[in-house]
């Protein structure tokens, strides 16, 4: 008995979701790897064809359950392009802020899961504890912890509650302190460095070839970040740096994500200052009633029902916490989208699994896969 296949999943503490990593091992060495997906395929693209435009937002929250707001944003951007509707400026800022909150929440969740894979027990609890603060902020302006249904075609559902910006500033201050503690627990530990340095290396050329994006790509030396390269919503009006590292290993991914969280805090602080001084509407006028928008102009409900809505195709791409997500929405003039197609960053990052797993040990699988940051919901859709 020299080589054997083992199934890690669908029920395995390493997977953090519903997928199966089949690895071929020789002793403790990985010889081959083949991820098997689809255990959480819920047919979101098909169901979307039976839904109104705003009802698809409900599915988006569940599509990626750790970054629901980013996916709402992605879908809404594509739908707005397909329907030729533009949101007001304040809504764009609020969306950007929600996006960055979601990045913080998702990265904190990643931190919690990643350190647990390494055997660090307490930081898992710390990550979850601090993520709850972000969720509290979400709860105060969307009413939900994870499934928000907040963005609408043409804007956002409601404005921020009074006193929100002060609370958010307090949370941001607290988080910046905690990031120091996280670094002390991880980078300050020799065992952590010994385990993570030089692990799961993927070069920049390989990343581009295999379609790997997001923090994994930026940890390999690229500075590609759609927020800078192809700004959407309010990102062109905000100051931030792109986090990047060169090594392309697990430590580099850790460093990139931690730096991204710091940059998110920086972005959020700028937006909070802007929001304090720029009140205004958060929903575009002249949004067709059948989109289900709560703020459709009174007396003009049938504004566009009488004629068919102009056809169009929408394409959007955003920098989601896991990487680069894209949506392609085809509007054929009906009440429902004709076809919705999503590109999930996790889908592409996972398809390269063989390239960053082979040659390492079985014990390296959890940290490597943890550093990829997997959300099976968006991968399987």
């Amino acid at each position: 008995m020299s080589e054997m296949w083992i199934n890690m999943g669908p029920q395995h503490p390493m997977t953090h979701g519903l997928w199966n990593l089949r690895v071929k091992i020789d002793g403790e060495l990985i010889v081959d790897a083949d991820p098997e997906m689809g255990y959480l395929h819920r047919g979101i693209e098909k169901i979307s064809e039976d839904r109104h435009y705003n009802e698809v937002v409900t599915l988006m929250d569940r599509c990626c359950y750790v970054a629901g707001m980013s996916w709402e944003h992605l879908y809404i951007l594509a739908s707005e392009q397909a329907l030729s509707i533009a949101p007001p400026e304040r809504a764009e800022y609020i969306r950007t802020m929600a996006d960055e909150f979601q990045r913080l929440g998702s990265h904190l969740m990643w931190y919690a899961a990643f350190v647990q894979d390494l055997g660090l027990m307490s930081p898992f609890l710390y990550g979850m504890r601090d993520r709850d603060l972000i969720l509290d902020l979400f709860q105060s302006f969307t009413g939900a912890r994870m499934t928000y249904e907040y963005m609408r075609v043409g804007g956002v559902r409601n404005d921020l509650p009074p006193g929100f910006t002060d609370r958010a500033r307090k949370v941001m201050d607290w988080l910046v302190d905690r990031f120091r503690e996280y670094d002390a627990l991880c980078l300050g530990s020799d065992i952590f460095r010994k385990r993570c340095d030089g692990l799961g290396v993927l070069s920049q050329a390989q990343c581009v070839e295999l379609g790997v994006t997001g923090p994994m790509l930026r940890s390999a030396g690229s500075s590609r970040d759609l927020r800078k390269d192809r700004p959407y919503s309010a990102y062109d009006r905000l100051e931030f740096d792109v986090a990047r590292a060169d090594a392309g290993d697990v430590t580099a991914r850790y460093l990139v994500r931690m730096e991204e969280m710091r940059q998110s805090v920086r972005i959020v602080r700028q937006i909070l200052d802007w929001l304090d001084t720029h009140p205004g509407p958060v929903m575009a006028e002249r949004v067709p009633r059948w989109l289900g928008a709560p703020y459709a102009p009174i007396g003009r409900e049938d504004y566009l029902l009488k004629r068919r809505y102009p056809k169009g195709v929408g394409f959007s791409a955003i920098e989601e916490p896991h990487g680069e997500a894209q949506a392609y929405v085809v509007n054929e003039g009906g009440e429902h989208p004709y076809r919705v197609k999503f590109r999930s960053p996790v889908f592409a990052n996972l398809s390269a699994a063989k390239h960053y797993l082979v040659g390492y040990h079985v014990a390296d699988i959890p940290p490597i896969m943890g550093s990829v940051d997997i959300c099976v919901g968006e991968c399987d859709r």
Binding site: M8, P13, G119, L120, S122, L125, Y126, I191, A363, D364
Partner: protein, 374 residues
């Protein structure tokens, strides 16, 4: 004469046999003779010891859960009993009632005897390690060697049960466990050699009694560090808990075990943790003795030795829990490399240092080594 556990057992045996002898006809009076009393006292002592050790272990699990909870900014078990102290009894009872499923392809003999033997060998240690004066002095002149020999039985039984569960994760866990324990056996024993050199005895009681005013943990600090690290590996706790590394091997070698057999594993793990803490206290922290400058009211109440011993044990175990809460897990090859390349040279160095201590006899801060005939 101070009250010890053995004297308590002896007086109970005396009382019982005396009562029996008083009602028996004269021909049966012999039951109260000295050998019979001693025999019954030993049996009673063993029974008390077993029950007390089991209870102690269960309280130790509770202690770890609460302490770990505090390290993690939460509370741990709260619901059952006062501050959750009955939680582990509930766990144990529940596991006792659950079915034990044996996989069809598993090896029957190994599957059942592995955990049982693991628990039994762990429990035997409680009979060997003295926790207060007058425990088994003179009976076991090589008690330290015997304890360490039995302590290192465990990988065999872990491997037996892992192999016979017929599960790939179990098998890998068992392999890792065997490799790890063999690697860490050597530095563990070498660091004990340092203590033996200084004390000149393999008898734990003698070793402890010499430490009353001279805890070996001070001059033999290096040996203490090596011993604690090796003991962490032997107990399979984070950062050396590779055999049951939850992230990659589902539950390690006890993946296929449920119900009572899993409870055996769980209990044995903590029995071994307790024994490990015992050994640290016995070899390096003065055992049940307290320095003579401690007021005698604090050291002369009944069972004072056991109380002090337990306090020290729980402090040592608290350090183990702290380590568990703060460190990530190492990798197998790193673990073995550290074991063979770092720990063994350090352990050898600690032996040399111990020889130096013996040669110098008196050190500036720590004072003179007792029991060297000087």
């Amino acid at each position: 004469m101070t009250v010890t556990l053995y004297s308590v057992a002896q007086s109970i045996a005396q009382a019982i046999l005396g009562a029996i002898a008083s009602v028996l006809p004269p021909a049966g009076r012999g039951v109260a003779s000295a050998p019979v009393v001693t025999g019954l006292a030993v049996l009673l002592f063993a029974a008390i010891l077993l029950v007390a050790s089991m209870l102690n272990t269960i309280v130790l699990i509770w202690f770890e859960r609460k302490l770990l909870g505090r390290f993690m900014d939460r509370r741990g078990a709260m619901h059952v009993g006062f501050a959750g102290i009955l939680q582990n009894f509930a766990d144990g009872l529940k596991l006792a009632r659950k079915d034990t499923v044996r996989p069809r392809e598993a090896d029957t003999l190994g599957f059942w005897t592995g955990p049982t033997a693991y628990l039994v060998t762990s429990l035997i240690l409680f009979g060997i390690l003295p926790v207060s004066s007058g425990w088994n002095s003179g009976v076991l002149p090589l008690s330290l060697l015997l304890a360490l020999a039995i302590f290192s039985f465990a990988p065999l039984f872990i491997f037996v049960s892992a192999w016979s569960s017929n599960n790939k994760y179990s098998l890998m866990g068992g392999m890792r466990s065997a490799a790890q324990m063999i690697a860490y056996e050597v530095p563990l024993l070498l660091s004990v050699v340092a203590v033996v050199l200084v004390s000149g005895s393999f008898d734990l009681t003698t070793i402890v009694e010499q430490q009353q005013n001279y805890w070996y943990g001070g001059p033999l600090l290096l040996a203490l560090i090596v011993f604690v690290a090796a003991m962490l590996a032997e107990m399979e706790r984070i950062p050396f808990d590779l055999p049951e590394a939850e992230a990659e091997l589902v539950e390690g070698w006890n993946t296929e075990y449920g119900g009572m057999l899993f409870a055996f594993f769980m209990l044995s793990d903590y029995v071994r943790a307790l024994v490990g803490s015992y050994l640290v206290v016995l070899l390096f922290l003065g055992g049940w003795t307290m320095p003579t400058w401690v007021p005698s009211t604090l050291t002369s109440f009944p069972l004072a030795g056991i109380v002090w011993f337990m306090i020290k044990t729980y402090i040592v175990f608290g350090v183990f829990v702290w380590v568990r809460a703060a460190l990530p897990r190492v990798r197998t090859d790193q673990l073995l490399r550290v074991g063979w390349n770092r720990m063994i040279p350090l352990a050898l160095l600690s032996v040399v240092l111990a020889a130096g201590v013996v040669y110098a006899k008196c050190l500036p801060v720590f004072g003179c080594v007792p029991g060297l005939g000087g």
